[in-house]
């Protein structure tokens, strides 16, 4: 094996050139090393044309440029005119061909120069047509204190990324079913080093960049991205600083979507939704460390991030600490919001307001939050929930109870149409646990919900448990009626809720709610609710009604006047989407009630219509009845078992032809008797609303 240095080679050239008599000189050596390169199977062939102009041909079986550029095989350099003008050797328009393992075949024409005294080799290519664009390369190799120094400068314009992928596929470590195209509009790279590659300056701009995986979860469309990086390597560690910008196009990574150039920008800024990432960091042992990452994403986000990304495992392990200076919910586009909330309980949540604070992530999982909320206004029209003027400080730790409690306050809120007043809440969090620190009172409908104790464990899991102790201070019934769009009537609702249980998304309230309405009592027990945040909340309850003043009830509902007292129950009430779908109701004159029992003509007509009767008005207007506007009754009542939109009816007492809805007394006595056993619930509700006049079987004695 012959090992020969470039200096020695130049000596050979120097000594052979003046000989003149030699027409052809061939030098072969098996191995050559220098300038950070290693060549094997080298043949140099010199053909003398005249005293100082020589044709040269160099062939190298394998030339190793080091780990960055890799090995080139079959390297051929043909120099049609080697000018030897000491101390400079120059070859204009040398034809070079090589096959790189990394880049494939490369063919180019370049000027080469060799300055033996400074031991400097220059290289400058003409424009190489690559992937529909052009690349120019320049390189310098020289020795400095026995150390090789080299630099390569590449300037590329308008390269097709799809073509690059075809030609240099190994550079793009993408699965075959991913699509990729776009233009490398401009790229300037200055790479330099000695024995090793140790400095890089890159300035590049990619336009119309499209990327997509097969299932459409990762995609870029029409992206315009710029990257400037200055990087240097020392002792095996690369340190870099630079800037990444994204000014046009759209990007989707799983559920995270961003449009860098929305058609309806929310600001007059030139690039209102652009991404700017100023960074400095280091790369060592498969780990990328950002000691500065200043992010700005349109009007949405401004943050300073410290991050550590370890790529040694199949899925990168991320540790980061983000100081969020601004997260403006109002600047969150609807499409981005849809992705972030996909699959959550409040998937239609929207709002505005600012969030600041700090997030710490360890091994890809958030471990602490320290957030300040400023004037948040949130609403989910599907779930029927809203909150306004939400402010405060939320502190959360995944692993331990925080030293300081969290505190939130809001100006107003709304749940299912019921307005809630302002309140302040203090609580501790730890992982998936929540503990109310001090009693909370939320004003509701001129009353309030007082929560003495609220503790939740394992939130979001099937094993979630809740400890609750609350009191519903008397709520105004007129306001409740208004909220639900009912006819307005007086009264109040109150109750103690000693227990609240949540299992598999089903919420069960222990205790009873008591309503004082119409001078009587209504108690609600066994209240359960499921899909509370869904489009169709389901509610179950048992209701007991005691001694309602019928005069007050009938005046509130414009039903026609009835006096007396009403009791009964609505058992197994089931509401879906706030609409009754099943119940077993029985309402009747309160047993033992000694108050005066009178029923007006209009009330008779309306009760008749419930019983499915026709023509009550005509019957009442016939004969002597027309002189009486009201009648005495002994008892009245109605039973309705609702199932599948059909109400199975019954009355207070059987009759030969049906059942009594109203059993009269005195003279003139009026009975309302119905033989309808099943009525259409929706029609019944509609007719009750319209209070239509229809005639039952009315008998008078």
């Amino acid at each position: 094996m012959i090992r020969i240095s470039l200096a020695r080679l130049s000596f050979l050239l120097l000594v052979s050139a003046p000989l003149g008599a030699i027409d052809k000189t061939t030098l072969s050596f098996a191995d050559w090393a220098g300038y950070g390169m290693h060549a094997q199977g080298v043949t140099v062939e010199l053909l003398l044309a005249n005293s100082n102009l020589t044709t040269a041909r160099v062939q190298v079986a394998a030339l190793d440029f080091g780990p960055e550029l890799g090995i080139a095989r079959g390297v051929q350099i043909y120099c049609p005119a080697l000018e030897i003008k000491a101390p400079l050797y120059r070859c204009v328009a040398a034809k070079i061909h090589a096959h790189f393992q990394k880049f494939g075949s490369v063919a180019l024409i370049a000027d080469l120069g060799w300055h033996p005294q400074t031991q400097t080799l220059n290289f400058s290519s003409n424009a190489i047509t690559v992937a529909g664009g052009q690349i120019r390369l320049q390189g310098v190799w020289r020795k400095h204190w026995h150390e090789p120094l080299w630099s390569i400068e590449a300037t590329a314009t308008n390269l097709s990324i799809a073509e690059l992928r075809k030609q240099w596929g190994t550079l793009f470590r993408l699965p075959k079913d991913w699509t990729l195209d776009g233009r490398l509009a401009y790229a300037h790279a200055l790479l330099s080093g000695n024995k090793n590659f140790n400095h890089a300056h890159i300035d590049t701009e990619v336009s119309k960049f499209n990327l997509g995986n097969a299932d459409g979860t990762i995609a870029a469309q029409n992206l315009q991205v710029g990257l400037k990086v200055d990087a240097a390597q020392m002792s095996g560690t690369w340190k870099a600083q630079g800037q990444l910008t994204g000014t046009h196009g759209e990007l989707l990574i799983s559920r995270l979507y961003w449009n860098f150039s929305p058609t309806e920008p929310s600001s007059t800024a030139r690039f209102p939704a652009a991404l700017t990432a100023d960074f400095s960091g280091a790369w060592r042992n498969s780990t990328l460390v950002f000691d500065r990452l200043q992010l700005k994403l349109g009007q949405l986000l401004t943050a300073d991030v410290l991050a550590n990304l370890n790529f040694s495992t199949q899925s990168p392990a991320i540790q980061l600490s983000a100081q969020i200076a601004k997260f403006d919910l109002g600047a969150l586009p609807q499409q981005t919001r849809a992705g972030l909330l996909l699959g959550t309980l409040l998937s239609k949540l929207e709002g505005r307001g600012l969030i600041k604070g700090q997030i710490v992530v360890e091994n890809n999982v958030p471990v602490t939050l320290d957030l300040i909320l400023q004037d948040l206004h949130l609403s989910d029209h599907v779930a029927g929930l809203a909150i306004g003027g939400l402010e405060g400080h939320v502190i959360w730790s995944r692993t331990h109870r925080t030293t300081f409690p969290s505190e939130l306050s809001w100006q107003s809120a709304n749940a299912y149409g019921i307005g809630l007043g302002s309140a302040r809440i203090r609580f501790f969090t730890e992982g998936a646990d929540f503990q109310l620190l001090q009693a909370l009172r939320i004003p509701v409908l001129d009353g309030g919900l007082k929560v003495n104790r609220l503790e939740l464990q394992r939130i979001g899991t099937a094993q979630m448990s809740v400890q609750f102790d609350g009191v519903l201070e008397p709520l105004s019934m007129p306001l409740l009626c208004k909220a639900f769009g009912w006819p307005i009537f007086a009264g109040s609702v109150a109750g103690a809720i000693p227990q609240l249980k949540v299992e598999h998304g089903r919420m069960t309230l222990g205790g009873q709610l008591h309503a004082k309405i119409f001078d009587g009592d209504v108690s609600v027990s066994d209240l359960t609710m499921s899909e509370a945040f869904g489009a169709r909340p389901q509610l179950n309850a048992n209701i007991i009604i005691n001694r309602l003043d019928l005069a007050a009830v009938t005046s509130a509902f414009s039903f026609g006047q009835i006096t007396g007292r009403l009791s009964g129950h609505i058992a197994a009430l089931h509401l879906v989407g706030w609409e009754p779908t099943a119940f077993d109701a029985s309402l009747f004159s309160t047993p033992g009630d000694r108050s005066k029992k009178l029923i007006s003509q209009r009330a008779v007509e309306n009760i008749s219509s419930i019983g499915g009767g026709q023509g009550a008005t005509a019957a009442l207007e016939r004969g002597a009845l027309r002189f009486f506007k009201e009648f005495h009754y002994q008892q009245l009542g109605l039973k309705c078992s609702l199932a599948n939109d059909v109400c199975a009816l019954n009355g207070v007492e059987p009759h030969a032809t049906g059942y009594y809805l109203v059993k009269g007394s005195g003279i003139p006595r009026i009975d309302v008797i119905s033989d309808s056993r099943r009525v259409d619930w929706r029609k019944l509700v509609a007719s009750l609303k319209e209070l239509s006049n229809s005639q039952p079987t009315v008998t008078s004695q």
Binding site: T179, G212, D215, G216, T217, A219, Q221, E250, L251, L252, R255, Y257, N259, Q334, Q335, T336, A338, G339, L341, L342, G343, S347, A535, R536, V576, G577, E579, P580, T581, N644, D645
Partner: protein
């Protein structure tokens, strides 16, 4: 002769005692209900029904004995019962689908369908073999709409699961849920408009 008659009567009594009557899954009624709901949702007249159903119930008899007279009797009873059940099936009452919950879900799906139609038309989404909807070609949906479509599909599939369960529940047979779902799966495909995609379990196909 008296003994023979007695034996025959006894055998008949034993066979009759062994008869197990299953409650048949009312496939025809479910298909009819499915077509009605699907037509309501997608705004399309119901598709032609499938071929007449073979009864899906199995064990109407227990052959017990292999003796000829017994087999004849069993077959006769079997045929009679089959005839009765077929007649009952033909005259099966409509499935209960008028509950408020079914109505609410149907309205919800109908309203959502207006948003999904363009994606059915473009082949971005299609019907699956399990009676649900899935993305067939996400890359034909713009990036901006991709998460919106995913949200719509999540809501749609939640509604569909609730619909199948509610029909089973409303008809007093929660155990029919899987069969109702399977029937609906076929009917969604049968009612799909020309050009829409469906996945019958062997890959996506265009109708």
């Amino acid at each position: 002769m008296q003994h023979l008659a007695l034996k025959l009567a006894l055998a008949t009594a034993i066979l009759a005692a062994c008869v197990t009557i299953n409650v048949y899954f009312p496939a025809a009624a479910v298909e009819k209900a499915a077509d009605q709901i699907i037509g309501d949702v997608i705004g399309k007249p119901a598709a032609a029904p499938l071929a007449p159903h073979a009864p899906t119930g199995k064990n109407l008899h227990d052959p017990g004995s292999n003796s000829l007279p017994a087999r004849v009797i069993v077959l006769t009873i079997d045929r009679m019962l089959n005839t009765l059940m077929s007649n009952a099936d033909a005259a099966a009452p409509d499935l209960e689908i008028s509950t408020p919950t079914v109505r609410q879900i149907t309205e919800s799906m109908k309203s959502r369908h207006a948003q999904l139609t363009q994606y059915y038309d473009s082949g971005a989404i299609g019907y699956t073999a399990d009676g649900m909807v899935d993305i067939r070609d996400a890359n034909s949906i713009t990036l901006a709409e991709r998460n919106v479509v995913r949200t719509l599909l999540a809501d749609e599939n939640k509604d569909r699961a609730a619909l199948y369960a509610e029909i089973a529940r409303a008809n007093g047979h929660p155990e029919w849920g899987a069969d109702i779902k399977a029937t609906f799966a076929k009917r969604w495909i049968a009612n799909a408009k020309g050009g829409w995609y469906y996945n019958d379990g062997s890959g996506w196909k265009q109708k």
